[in-house]
């Protein structure tokens, strides 16, 4: 598997309180609880495809850094909940990923458009694949 730049570094320095608040509200997670153990990232089956590891995304939210919204990670996450069962602080990182996706999708950004998919392929895919894909990745 191609390691992307999953080792991208975070810009430190607190940025945006309202962004942090929005993500907390939408995800329902108390983001301050994270103590950066990295458990979520170590269990994430998609970590190798991500630009920022899940634990880094959580740290970015703690710092109110809005560039979390532009990361590939939020679209690569498959909502598998491996992070959720691992977090010793009871944070459901999948909820945080969803909140970030929603902040983009609600501004009419579509990561995958149905029109871009081949018709012949759509015919062979199970409905649950297409519907879940569009629910997660399309405005």
């Amino acid at each position: 598997m191609a390691f992307k730049d999953a080792r991208r570094t975070i810009n430190y320095g607190f940025q945006n309180e309202s962004f942090k608040f929005k993500v907390s509200e939408l995800s329902g997670e108390d983001i301050n609880l994270c103590f950066q153990c990295g458990g979520c990232s170590s269990g994430c089956p998609l970590a190798e495809e991500m630009d920022f590891l899940p634990s880094k995304i959580v740290r970015m939210i703690q710092l109110g850094r809005e560039e979390a919204l532009d990361s590939e990670t939020i679209w690569v996450c498959s909502t598998c909940f491996n992070c959720e069962v691992r977090c010793p602080r009871g944070i459901d990182v999948a909820n945080i990923m969803e909140a970030l996706r929603q902040l983009k999708l609600r501004k009419k950004y579509s990561h995958v458009s149905l029109d871009s998919l081949e018709k012949s392929k759509i015919r062979t895919l199970p409905q649950i694949a297409i519907i879940s894909n569009q629910r997660k990745l399309s405005a």
């Binding site: 509200e25 995800s27 909502t79 491996n82 909140a99 871009s116 409905q127 649950i128 894909n133 997660k136």
Partner: protein, 297 residues
């Protein structure tokens, strides 16, 4: 016992063999799965965002049907049985949310179609595996006519049968329900580290290569463990690991073919039900060769 059954969309198309074998095996257990009189797509994924109550309407509308069927005496319990892992998760999470949060319940009731009565909140969602477990592993064993002797089976859980914690049907760290089923059918359960890791899920739609990589990890572990079959509970996992296996082999040369079957198909086989009820002709890759080799077909 008559129980309401929610098929979901894919059970009527890509996963017909799952439905057919489940209904037939359930009969052997004394359970009649009665399809909902009317049903709609559950939405396939739970709306995780805390303010997204709108997406609870589709799953909850299906639960209203269960209460109606119970009132009319069509089913015996306020239980809704599902087979698809994704439907199970979506229905159960929406139900859990409205039961614990009165404000969400109120919003859902308010926005339901006029012809739909208010949801009373009496329905319990069960995966068919839980129904099987409730019957008792010993009792299942006693119903087996054709033991799956010598068949090395990987119990593959996928994600949503076990997670999130508290919503799944078994301990997410150390699940045993599929292993117990395999044992009671007389088969041999084979352990792999990735038995509950993601197969690639809906990324199969637009990131095929990533889905292939994830599925390949599971398939190669199964091959290394010298398994005969992978047994699973989700039509999307079945598509990624089974239907796409030929495609995956193009990227990963030397990968051995491993058939993928639904747990209900192995139940139907062990209960010695006819070919129409096992539905093996639909599986990709074809499991019949290995089953014949083991004198099971």
């Amino acid at each position: 016992m008559r129980l309401a059954y929610y098929p979901g969309c894919t059970l009527k198309t890509n996963a017909k063999s799952f439905e057919i074998s489940a209904i037939a095996s359930a009969k052997v257990l004394g359970v009649e799965l009665v399809e909902l009189t009317r049903w709609n797509c559950c939405g396939t994924v739970h709306a995780l965002a805390k303010d997204d109550v709108m997406h609870y309407i589709a799953p909850i509308r299906n639960l209203i049907r269960v209460e109606e069927m119970r009132d009319e005496g069509i089913v015996d319990e306020n239980i809704l049985v599902t087979l698809c892992e994704m439907c199970f998760n979506t229905l159960k999470r929406a139900n859990t949310e409205v039961l614990k949060d009165g404000e969400k319940m109120r919003k859902v009731r308010e926005n339901m179609e006029e012809r739909d009565p208010a949801y009373r909140g009496e329905v319990e969602i069960k995966h068919f595996l839980e129904v099987v477990k409730d019957i008792g592993w010993n009792n299942i064993s006693n119903l087996v006519i054709k033991k799956l002797k010598g068949l090395r089976i990987i119990p593959y859980y996928g994600c949503l049968l076990l997670r999130p914690r508290g919503l799944g049907i078994d301990d997410p760290d150390n699940p045993t329900i599929l292993e117990s089923l395999i044992k009671s059918l007389g088969g041999e359960s084979v352990e792999i580290p990735f038995k509950s890791k993601c197969c690639g899920s809906y990324h199969t739609v637009h990131m095929e290569q990533v889905a292939s990589e994830l599925s390949h990890r599971i398939l190669s572990q199964a091959a290394e463990a010298e398994a005969d079959l992978i047994m699973l509970t989700c039509p999307l996992c079945s598509y990624n690991l089974g239907d796409r296996q030929e495609e995956i082999k193009k990227s990963f040369k030397g990968l051995r073919t491993i058939p993928v079957v639904y747990f209900t198909q192995l139940m139907a086989l062990a209960f010695n039900l006819p070919a129409e009820s096992t539905g093996f002709s639909e599986n990709k890759p074809d499991p019949t060769v290995i089953l014949k080799n083991k004198d099971l077909l």
